[in-house]
Symmetry: D2
Subunit: 396 residues, 4 copies
Amino acid sequence: MSTTEPARKPRGRQFFANPGPTNIPDSVLLATAHQTVDFNDPNFIAVYEACVAGLKRVLKTQQEIFLYTGSGHAAWEASLVNLLSPGDRILILESGYFSLSWAAMAQDLGLAVQSVAADWRRGVDLAALREALAADKGHGIKAVCVVHNETATGMMIPLPEVRAALDATGHPALFLADTISSLGSLDFRMDEWGIDACVGGSQKGLMLPTGMSFTGVSAKGMAAHAASTLPKHYFNWTNMLKRPHRSFVGTIPVSLFYGLQESLRLIEQEEGLENVFARHTRLAKAVRAAVQHWSGNNGPQLFCLNPARYSDSVTAILMPEGYDADALRAVALQKFNLSLGGGLGPLGGKVFRIGHLGDLNEPMILGTLATVELAMKTAGVPHTPGGVQAAIEALA
Amino acid sequence: MSTTEPARKPRGRQFFANPGPTNIPDSVLLATAHQTVDFNDPNFIAVYEACVAGLKRVLKTQQEIFLYTGSGHAAWEASLVNLLSPGDRILILESGYFSLSWAAMAQDLGLAVQSVAADWRRGVDLAALREALAADKGHGIKAVCVVHNETATGMMIPLPEVRAALDATGHPALFLADTISSLGSLDFRMDEWGIDACVGGSQKGLMLPTGMSFTGVSAKGMAAHAASTLPKHYFNWTNMLKRPHRSFVGTIPVSLFYGLQESLRLIEQEEGLENVFARHTRLAKAVRAAVQHWSGNNGPQLFCLNPARYSDSVTAILMPEGYDADALRAVALQKFNLSLGGGLGPLGGKVFRIGHLGDLNEPMILGTLATVELAMKTAGVPHTPGGVQAAIEALA
Amino acid sequence: MSTTEPARKPRGRQFFANPGPTNIPDSVLLATAHQTVDFNDPNFIAVYEACVAGLKRVLKTQQEIFLYTGSGHAAWEASLVNLLSPGDRILILESGYFSLSWAAMAQDLGLAVQSVAADWRRGVDLAALREALAADKGHGIKAVCVVHNETATGMMIPLPEVRAALDATGHPALFLADTISSLGSLDFRMDEWGIDACVGGSQKGLMLPTGMSFTGVSAKGMAAHAASTLPKHYFNWTNMLKRPHRSFVGTIPVSLFYGLQESLRLIEQEEGLENVFARHTRLAKAVRAAVQHWSGNNGPQLFCLNPARYSDSVTAILMPEGYDADALRAVALQKFNLSLGGGLGPLGGKVFRIGHLGDLNEPMILGTLATVELAMKTAGVPHTPGGVQAAIEALA
Amino acid sequence: MSTTEPARKPRGRQFFANPGPTNIPDSVLLATAHQTVDFNDPNFIAVYEACVAGLKRVLKTQQEIFLYTGSGHAAWEASLVNLLSPGDRILILESGYFSLSWAAMAQDLGLAVQSVAADWRRGVDLAALREALAADKGHGIKAVCVVHNETATGMMIPLPEVRAALDATGHPALFLADTISSLGSLDFRMDEWGIDACVGGSQKGLMLPTGMSFTGVSAKGMAAHAASTLPKHYFNWTNMLKRPHRSFVGTIPVSLFYGLQESLRLIEQEEGLENVFARHTRLAKAVRAAVQHWSGNNGPQLFCLNPARYSDSVTAILMPEGYDADALRAVALQKFNLSLGGGLGPLGGKVFRIGHLGDLNEPMILGTLATVELAMKTAGVPHTPGGVQAAIEALA
């Protein structure tokens, strides 16, 4: 979509069905609108410490956590520069655009990258991972990197099975997981699953604006950190541990902590973390029911062909041959004020995505699906009408 | 619904499909969050005057306007106490709960009330109005009071036809119109239609919080005011004209003016007033298409039986015999975070209402309709499934 | 100040030292920015009921309370029309502009008004009240009306002494008190002081935007209400008691309740009501110390000449002969972004006022006083420099 | 201050006189409370591009600008990793805590650091800079790094003189300037002064929350970037130029752009950038007048002993021997809700700092100074009373 076209003048609330950033609840948004305070003020420190403790509960970890003023990519970079040394080899499980991006980052930082290739529509074969690990007799692989939930394809990789592959082969590599689009939406258990470093951000399941990211780090990870020699300062955990807040280098983004405090209250006290997961599962099923209904008569279809790995936080939808996903998205946005996610990298124009993570409920999902159907009708995209009806039935 | 039951813990944004107050756009809401200023501050006065000018454009009047810190009922009372004297007789066209309430208010204030009765599902017969006026040879009727859009029944009364009846009979009565749920949603033309006093509020088509209401007054109305002897002070137009702002008695609610300034910008500059009306018409048709679809097989049906008077800002829906509207509303609210309007007065439990005025778009309406269908399914209310589909077709 | 002059382009936060409305704390302001909810929603009702209970604690009453969408003048009118009948006589203790306004309102509403005159700088002589009551053998006086804290002159009338005068003379008149600029700032005890109806508003000590006012009513007041015949509907307590919320006629201004909930939390939980009073006393002394210092060498002086009646929520300051208060206020506002209150009625141009009620602390008061001194210097108003120093000493 | 002590329960607005982050104007704060939007949405892109253009005007540059989700330290790191290669030598002009921190960062990243030492109270001798440059015959110094305004000591380094030293010696080193606490407060001219990379952040003169930082880069800088080999990805300008926004790696913090748009409007349209500078100069003089007055009788004194280098955005104040700055700060914060900056590094406990940059005016500065004096009195810190009076005179 050209940036020179005249801007729309939308009315009514924009429906934001992009997989990230996500809808921010009003109470969280207003909590972030907090006047400046000194980050050493005791009143702020009480808020700060409660937030760190809450984040650990959401990560299901009792180990270290380091926070960054930065986006998810900042935490990705932090996980690499703090754990590894120049020339170290890492093994990345291919899942889609974001696994490729993490690999590209690693290469930029001077690491060697080995991949376990995958069909993006079916997901990585974990037997291939076991083989790769078993073949690495010399333990040249220093870390295995997995995107828990690939936001670009709507596919989830079962992390316990990755752990099992490491254990089965007795491979000592660090286990790094990107939880950016799963944390607070899908079940994630850092300590139980033996994850050494996990990467999360503020702007997905935590329902905050973009601007803060973090890594959980295991004791094994901290030991690896001590030996790491990649140059680092802004992301350096050792520097952070010397500060009173035991995190951050430089100024702390206080406003996001006031938001996070409210967000954790919503997640833990208003709804309950396990109920949050159940809601995501319920709403995701409705989305898939609609898409599967539409797919008849050469309609758009689920990109993910592996039901065991359906993502409950984002659904990627493959357009019928010859129809442009971005043209459909433009109709949805400009005529109906519905923002859908686009296809990334090689999926550009072929796929659109419905984000269904964060602050969502039945009317929001049904309104989104009904409007997608209205947009398909308007744009002349073939589909079997009645997807919303299928979704209603899935929810009833 | 008992107030002692445990409060819900809703997630996702509440869908507010109540006919008033209405959804407040984010930019309006934040504009109202304005720190206190002196209402005599020149900076505020510039905002104030721009708002008054804008309100006149929305009312399509070049005559007087008086504002009140108060709800719509305050402006109702202002219109009566400023124009009439104890014992004066007024003629009210029955339209539903709100016409009855205005009549009750008039009686409390010491006026005599004559009604033109009506079948609430078909609306008042304007021939009966003409007869009543013609019969009033002595011109004992001092004012004719009409609710432009009856929020309780979802019916619109054609004001030009009321004017025509007055003109045809040569009756000198003042013409008072309640535009509370029509202003900024349905076409309204104070001066062209010869309305002497119209009553509006902040919390409907102007998309503001409850708290400010106003009356437009014609020159004929001002002349009647000069002769009026009902006791008044807080609502007294004469007192207001002596103040620098030419309105209000007491402190001015400055925060609502910052909101109104933004609201007028949205209505006039972002969308255009005539486009606002067209959007209301389009969305209302979708709502009615859904209800008419549901109504097969003993489903709920449109309360209004007169297509010429369908309201484009609110639809009242009559439940099938034996099904409780409030039970359905409780399911929608507690399970799905959708707030529907209830039946008022004699329609309590029999009718539920969908407000479709103010800051709305296709996804919001379709999400509302889909969730009503989901709630009916959940609550076991008979209906023909597929109402949303019908709405999508109406919108395409 | 002409409204046609070009508006200032102020920078930095405006200092709002007007006696009302008052500064709104950020957390209250953001709480009021609450999306619309149905006022019958159980979640809202829980907030509503907690607010009503909190208001009663602040009023120190266990009797009735009625709320209005309206400003303080609305509650004034409500107190009169609900308690009295046409032609009833009331006795108003003169205190300044606001006592005169209440009297004018009573006259507009058809009541007879008797006054106890007073020197505005010294305050009413309560012996004169006792005499007036004693002289009223026939108990023609139906109500005694007192402004607890006269915002226009910065003077407080001791309500227990008014009660004592009623008791001493055995006079059965109702006791009405305006607590608008005292509630939540100065000690006020409705039940202990035997007040039959008190009038309060949202925009002073409760630190909310203008838009809601209320009256506490004693059992004796409710009995009088039953006999009252002044016409009323919008303010009618009998109508209100029939509603589920037992208050309001028409739509309830929900957003102000979310603000009030936060405001009560600040007053009762963060600070404590008695601490709020102590803070007002402390800051008021600092203001008076500054003014008394300035007054040397023909400087501005305290308008109130009776130390026993100094108001701890607002100080009126009399300009030296020949110097215009509004010119000084214009300098403060336009050059330094400090908003001071003006003189009202006959005090216009002669007096300016510093409001020191609500959300204030030492830096705000000292910044205000220092800027007043800077403005006097800039505007060439004679004064003894060093008023801030005197205030610092008073606070130390 | 221990974090376990009971949190204060402050009332009234906190006075934030910390040198950074700074007070956020209400309109900026509410603008940042913007619901999530897709950063590829044309409506957002219009806002984004206007902000980038505005930032360039404030930097007085027509060259490149790169933005980061990150704090000021992120932009520091970006300036180093994008311009330099492992082992490169840089020359840092010592100014205080922040110049030391930048040097420490450079060392962590594998650079060699040479310093021009300085007396922190008098500031670096630029003759020593010229000597160091002249001595570097082999041009081993790749970059000269200067903190324009040292926030820790309240001293400004004249950048044109640094440029002159480079020119006079014909030294080809890149010229890097940290403008974090000067941008938007003190005059800064990137292009005119021949700066190759400047580092700025959102949370100072731009009056935004912490979370975004940026670097302006000259053509010479871009050429150096092409040859740079320090590992980088999150901060990599080459990666950024490939993106549609020509900046950022990863998600863009959209909410800060809505705030920046408003902040630029305030700076450029409401006040005018040159007027902003003049206001900072005026207020800074008042602060110094107060401190100089206090300093008599062994009171606290200006830390900076070089009047030509007084900072107009922050003043560091040296306590009398034997008095703890942090104890004084604790009194100011806990008793009077005034937040002052502390001493950093070796100045801890010895110095406190008053930030006077960003959204400030006369009442805020005078309130701050008066409360510092009140706190000194309360804490028993020796001083000559009357500092506020001196400030008032400086402002008159």
